[in-house]
């Protein structure tokens, strides 16, 4: 059952509920609402919006992501891998076993040195960009927990406009401050279009 994975044992309300959402019409409205929710001390909450609303992540207190560091690591791996690959294959006669026997072969081409620094730059550059880019996409998906094809937000038909023109603020039931009545009252003070509970 999906709720067993999402709801903590501490939650007092009916276990099948994921939480509660408030729907807003404009980016300005959700920006202000997000600020109030954060001030009220909620921890497990999110905004589902059709495009990144300017300043909303800061208003929500989203911490800076470690993504750039991972991308740097990916790029560095690419550079080192490319240098190792080129030096090993074209400049040395080392051998090792990697599923099949692999032997380096020192090419002597037009009198160039075995380790031809400048000639190895383009491939090193390309592999750096390649691995950094793939890390950028892969790490973004991984940190976001995607792909995830089931989620209560996707299940709720009332929230279908989250990818169109409406802005939703979702407070999850696992939040220690969550209460079906008090949270609903609180959300209504933010002047949303509607407030509704969501099934898990």
């Amino acid at each position: 059952m999906a709720h067993e994975m999402t709801a903590t044992p501490k939650a007092k309300e009916p276990t099948r509920m994921f939480g509660m959402f408030a729907e807003f019409e404009t980016p300005g409205a959700i920006l202000e609402a997000a600020k109030k929710v954060r001030e009220a001390g909620y921890k497990w909450w999110d905004c589902n919006v059709p495009f990144p609303v300017h300043g909303l992540d800061k208003a929500m207190g989203v911490r800076p992501t470690i993504l750039p560091l991972l991308v740097f690591g990916g790029g560095l791996t690419g550079t080192l891998l490319a240098i190792a690959l080129q030096v090993f294959t074209n400049s040395t006669n080392l051998s090792f076993w990697a599923l099949v026997p692999v032997h380096g072969y020192p090419f002597l081409v037009s009198g160039k040195p075995f380790i031809s620094g400048p000639a190895f730059v383009p491939v090193a550059f390309e592999l750096t960009v390649l691995l950094a880019s793939l890390t950028s996409f892969g790490a973004m998906m991984l940190l976001n927990g995607l792909p995830r094809h089931y989620h209560p937000v996707l299940k709720s038909p009332k929230m279908a406009r989250a990818t169109d023109d409406r802005f939703y603020l979702v407070i999850e039931a696992r939040d220690p401050k969550y209460s079906p009545t008090k949270t609903a009252e609180f959300l209504k003070t933010l002047r949303p279009l509607q407030v509704s509970e969501m099934e898990a």
């Binding site: 920006l31 999110d46 690959l85 099949v100 031809s116 390309e126 880019s133 950028s136 976001n144 169109d164």
Partner: protein, 491 residues
């Protein structure tokens, strides 16, 4: 509401011209763009174009089969011109592929917001152009079944590629470019595929768009990382765009052949690639915006901006043509000087002057605003530039090879019917992929276009224009959001 007939090409120093016309609400923008995919039947023009393109693509694939079964002798490649059409076509298509990532990456870093209406388009064009480009060297190697020799794969012959060769750099550059462009394109499309998923009316569509949207649900916490990843990809793709055609130019510049062995090649190739790429974007965008009613998004201002880039890069290319001549004379190398004079006056003079007319002369009409904003003129110029850029590669590849150091080996290159049909067929493949893209995937970056509309600005109030309570209300919210972002929390 700004009417769809509003002229947004007028420069107004006191405020920015709107990038989306005729739409006030975010919802109507979604609906108009999604209509391209959601209309039950595609427009007649699409069907006709698709049938013709699919026939072209079929011809291309059939001819590849014929080539592999028979041998590369079916081409006109003959001593001394061993590179012939396949390499001309390769460089041409790779060049076309440059506008997409230029628009998505470089214009993104320069905060040119007008890119949002055309970037998806141009990125798709990039992917398909690189597919066309990649197929030519792939078959030009002759023994297609040995194509894996291009990659450093441990094999039974204990044989490695030669990493000091520009031809191998090319494999890595084009391969990386294709992969990164694909990732960039797909990642930008994920939120828009989610939009199509949430609007889909059949189970099949919901499932397919559902799978490819990867469960995107517009979470702001996700958007935060997404925006950072997109910025990083743009920052990585910017030097990549510049590197790819530089590396392609090394295929020529690193050799010793007069006409190829020049240091101006990398910047000159990159300028030419951007020039040709924008012309192809224009060729596709001008008809597509009329057929699918996207004039409110791809506005005249967008087209005019692209025409300005075509004028700029066309003039850069013209400067490079002149500089090549100057250096050929200034170097004191008799062979260089002969090659260039021969290009302009020799047996291929016709190709040289077609190139000069199409690439240097024809874009000069864009100095006049009336011409820049005339759909017919810009379409004709774009077609001329497409043609001219193909001839530029023809001039570079063929003339230098046909008359090299040894007069006794001079020759005249004649393409065979297979050469010509493969060139036409590659356009068929390109257009088939592009038309399928228009039909089934979001043609305009929906979420990005929404983010440049006034309604997306938290300053904008509650969708009722300026002034009044709503305005002040959200101003306050925005100001405090900015405050909490910066370290000064005292206010």
């Amino acid at each position: 509401m700004i009417s769809g007939t509003y002229d947004n090409t007028i420069e107004t120093p006191d405020h920015r011209q709107p990038l989306v016309l005729g739409h006030e609400t975010l919802g109507s923008a979604t609906a108009t763009i999604c209509r391209v995919n959601e209309s039950p039947r595609p427009p007649m023009a699409w069907t006709v174009a698709f049938i013709i393109s699919a026939l072209g693509a079929t011809m291309f694939v059939t001819l590849i089969g014929y080539l592999i079964a028979t041998g590369v002798g079916v081409w006109g490649n003959m001593h001394p011109v061993m590179w012939g059409f396949p390499i001309v076509n390769f460089v041409f298509w790779v060049g076309i592929g440059h506008a997409g990532t230029l628009i998505s990456a470089i214009l993104f870093l320069f905060r040119q917001k007008w890119r949002t209406a055309i970037n998806r388009f141009a990125e798709a064009m990039t992917i398909f152009a690189v597919i066309c480009a990649g197929s030519f060297p792939g078959i030009h190697i002759g023994r297609v079944w040995a194509a894996y020799w291009l990659f450093p794969i441990p094999n039974q012959m204990e044989m490695w590629p030669q990493f000091r060769s520009p031809l191998l750099w090319d494999v890595f550059a084009v391969g990386t470019y294709f992969t990164v462009s694909l990732v960039f394109w797909y990642m930008g499309m994920v939120p828009d595929i989610a939009t199509l998923r949430d609007r889909s009316n059949t189970k099949m569509k919901a499932m397919l768009y559902g799978i490819f949207s990867l469960g995107w649900r517009g979470s702001m916490r996700h958007w935060h990382r997404y925006e950072r990843a997109y910025l990083l990809l743009a920052a990585l793709a910017t030097p990549l765009v510049l590197s790819v055609h530089s590396v392609v130019s090394f295929d020529f510049a690193v050799s010793q052949l007069p006409g190829w062995h020049t240091t101006i090649f990398p910047p000159y190739f990159v300028a030419g690639a951007i020039f040709g790429g924008f012309a192809m974007v224009q060729t596709l965008a001008v008809p597509a915006r009329s057929i699918w009613g996207l004039q409110d998004f791809i506005t005249m201002r967008h087209l005019e901006n692209m025409n300005k880039i075509i004028l700029l890069t066309g003039s850069l290319v013209g400067f490079a043509y002149g500089m090549e001549f100057f250096i050929a004379w200034y170097s004191g190398s008799k062979l260089e000087l002969f090659t260039f004079i021969n290009r302009a006056t020799g047996q291929y003079a016709w190709a040289y002057w077609i190139m000069i007319f199409c690439n240097v002369v024809s874009p000069q009409v864009f100095w006049f605003k009336k011409m820049r904003t005339n759909l017919v003129v810009m379409f004709i110029v774009a077609m001329l530039v497409n043609c001219g850029m193909w001839f530029e590669r023809f001039v570079i590849v063929i003339t230098s090879l046909a008359q090299d150091f040894l007069p006794s080996s001079w020759g005249y290159f004649k393409p065979s019917w297979v050469d010509v049909c493969m060139l036409i067929g590659s356009f068929g493949l390109f257009m088939t992929l592009f038309l399928l893209f228009i039909r089934f995937l979001p043609v305009i970056a929906i979420s990005e276009v929404k983010s440049v509309m006034p309604a997306a600005d938290p300053h904008h109030g509650h969708g009722h224009g300026h002034g009044g309570h709503g305005m002040e209300h959200s101003h306050e919210a925005h100001a405090s959001a900015v405050m909490s972002g910066s370290s000064s929390h005292g206010a």
